[in-house]
């Protein structure tokens, strides 16, 4: 006794007619674009406002556009700022660069270590690695604060810049490790042994062979670490002591008018990053095209 298919109903037959199918496809497509546009509008509206504010003269109310000026941009680029803001920006950038550098190097070594562990231990370390990522920032902030406060009783002066930098390294490391582990997993399992087989000493084996092979993962991790550090608020809030980073500075001014240079700084930073990414993408696309041409002519 075979399986009897039900006769398709009238509605289904109607929907299958080519013209109807086309119309439906078109509607769905329009909906997709509309939805995407709606999403873009939502996400970019605040950014547009930030950009606008960076050009707003300061003579009137903050919520009014009083006039167009490049003054604020000029002030940021010449670093002619209110001391508090200048310090906040400097702190943010210094911490970000330091934390990114340290966590990238350390994260690479740690990732190689974790990758080389037997399965059970590796899964345990990966789980541990997730903890700072999954943990709420506020808990991480409070936890680190406890530890650093205790350390500060033994080593005075460490609660402030030092604790802030260590805190940033702490939450950047897991992202670096997480970016590199999949790339390590993709490698031929014998790559390191091959290097040793060919007369490389162990350390050289890592630097000459493993690291170049996982470079994309390292770079991605570096980018993510930098992004996380630049924007952090909660963890910095509890571990910066007397000093401010930019997020703390902005938060502190929640009930009064923010210096317009803040908007200018933010717009400049975003623009630089976007241009940088575009440049990287374009250059790699050009390289690909050049190689295709080369291979075509030399095949």
């Amino acid at each position: 006794m075979g399986v009897r298919k039900r006769e398709p109903g009238k509605l289904t037959l109607f929907l299958r007619r080519p013209k109807v199918e086309q119309a439906i496809a078109r509607i769905v497509s329009v909906f997709k674009y509309a939805f995407f546009a709606f999403f873009m509008f939502l996400m970019y509206l605040p950014i547009v406002v930030i950009a606008i504010q960076s050009f707003n003269t300061t003579t009137g109310l903050i919520y009014q556009f009083n006039g167009f000026t490049f003054e604020h941009w000029k002030n940021v680029l010449t670093f002619d700022l209110d001391t508090n803001l200048a310090n906040a920006i400097t702190t943010t950038l210094v911490v970000a660069f330091l934390a990114t550098a340290v966590s990238t190097v350390a994260g690479t070594i740690i990732a190689i270590g974790i990758h080389s562990l037997p399965k059970k231990k590796r899964q345990g370390m990966v789980f541990l690695n997730q903890v700072p990522i999954l943990n709420a920032d506020i808990i991480t902030g409070i936890s680190l604060m406890f530890v650093f406060k205790i350390v500060a009783t033994i080593l005075p002066g460490t609660f402030g810049m030092p604790s802030l930098i260590v805190a940033h390294i702490f939450f950047c490391l897991p992202y670096v490790v997480l970016s590199i582990l999949p790339k390590l997993a993709e490698l031929d399992e014998n790559l390191y042994d091959a290097a040793l087989d060919l007369y490389c000493k162990p350390a050289a084996g890592i630097t000459k062979v493993i690291i170049p092979a996982i470079l994309p993962g390292i770079l991605t991790g570096m980018l993510i670490a930098f992004t996380m550090s630049i924007d952090d608020f909660l963890i910095s809030f509890f571990n910066a002591g007397e000093i401010n980073n930019l997020s703390i500075y902005i938060y502190g001014g929640y009930n009064r008018r923010l210096a317009p240079e803040v908007y200018a700084y933010n717009t400049i930073l975003s623009t630089v990053i976007i241009l940088g990414l575009v440049a990287m993408y374009v250059s790699s696309a050009l390289k690909k095209r050049a190689r295709l041409k080369h291979d075509l002519h030399h095949a």
Binding site: E189, D193, D295
Partner: protein, 349 residues
């Protein structure tokens, strides 16, 4: 007289308490193509890795040219390895991959260029120097891996199932090329595979392993014609294995029939395992044949037909050029020198 290049003395290696390589003793000569052959998990790759220095024996000694090398790291041994999935460095092109070992040994630039070119010629990839390794086919990557190893002029080349990932025709041509290469270079090749046909084709000596223990060492023809036990008999080539009794000198009884045989090292009345290769059985007229049966299946294998013949309820596999129909009555004949007898081992069946 061939010189002993490598000796493994009572070498044992365990993982998680279980011995993967169990007290093996083996010596390997200069200029020899020797293959470690066995099923997955028999310890052949671990043995290879210990010779290369990537694993350390838990017990026993590995002696290279008279020197115990247990603690010597891979980069200090005159040995190079061709890995199973080639392990080519993805960020380097073909030239840099091959030159890698030479650069680490601080060889002069001009000499490097010369040796890389020679190596590329040897593996038939003369113009590939600037290519990216990720764009090469499996066979081409294979050759680059070989070139990368031999360019360093090692005394010993280790090959860990290097042809496993290639398709059949390519594998067969590479087997021939590897054998030629070993002859030309005059160095020792230690080859690991689970493919018995590959081992028979290329080796001067075969070491059959099972569960970390060496089952038999011998030449390809020696092992093929005179397997030591059921495992080797089953693993190498195909065979028909039967229970038999060694009646007396040069006479063996199996399938309720007595046959002349040439093996003499058994006691009267001793039970033996009887091994007959499928190609050694001839199909004859059932009238007057010592063994009579019915054809139960016939498969065309390209070169020959593989027939299964049921004789008194036991299935015989026969390779023959003449086909027989399923259901036909046939007789089987075997010459006395083609009956091979083995000692029955405890707990074996």
């Amino acid at each position: 007289m061939a010189k002993k290049l490598i000796e493994l003395k009572n070498v044992t290696k365990s993982y998680d308490g279980a011995a993967v390589v169990n007290d093996i003793n083996l010596y390997i000569n200069e200029n020899e193509f020797i293959t470690l052959l066995g099923p997955s998990g028999c310890g052949k790759t671990t043995t290879l890795r210990m010779i290369g220095g990537f694993e350390k024996p838990d017990a026993g000694e590995i002696v290279l040219n008279g020197v115990v090398v247990n603690d010597v790291p891979p980069y200090e041994r005159p040995i190079n390895t061709v890995f199973q999935r080639y392990a080519l460095f993805p960020h380097l092109n073909v030239y840099d991959n091959i030159a890698f070992g030479l650069r680490n040994q601080k060889v002069a630039k001009e000499e490097i260029a010369e040796r890389v070119e020679t190596a590329l010629k040897l593996v038939s990839l003369p113009n590939f120097a600037k290519r990216k390794v990720t764009n090469l086919s499996g066979g081409q990557q294979q050759r680059v891996a070989i070139a990368r190893a031999i360019v360093n002029k090692p005394k010993i080349l280790l090959l860990d199932e290097p042809l496993a990932a290639l398709d059949l025709k390519l594998r067969q041509s590479m087997q021939y090329e590897l054998k030629e290469m070993q002859r030309k270079l005059g160095i020792t090749f230690i080859y690991v595979t689970h493919d018995q046909e590959e081992a028979l084709t290329m080796s001067d000596t075969i070491v059959v392993m099972k569960d970390g223990v060496i089952q038999q060492i011998g030449t390809p023809t020696g092992i093929y014609n005179e397997p030591n036990n059921r495992f080797v008999a089953r693993f190498i080539g195909e065979s028909n294995i039967l229970d038999g009794i060694y009646v007396r000198q040069n006479l063996v009884r199996f399938m309720d029939v007595e046959f002349d045989c040439v093996d003499t090292q058994f006691a009267d009345g001793e039970p033996v395992d009887v091994v007959i290769r499928p190609e050694d059985l001839d199909i004859i007229d059932p009238k007057g044949a010592k063994l009579i049966g019915v054809v139960s299946s016939s498969i065309f294998r390209g070169v020959h037909f593989e027939l299964c013949v049921m004789v008194q309820g036991k299935e015989f596999v026969i390779h023959t050029y003449e086909n027989r129909k399923v259901g036909e009555n046939v007789g089987l004949r075997v010459d006395s020198y083609e009956i091979h007898l083995m000692k029955v081992e405890q707990g074996e069946h």
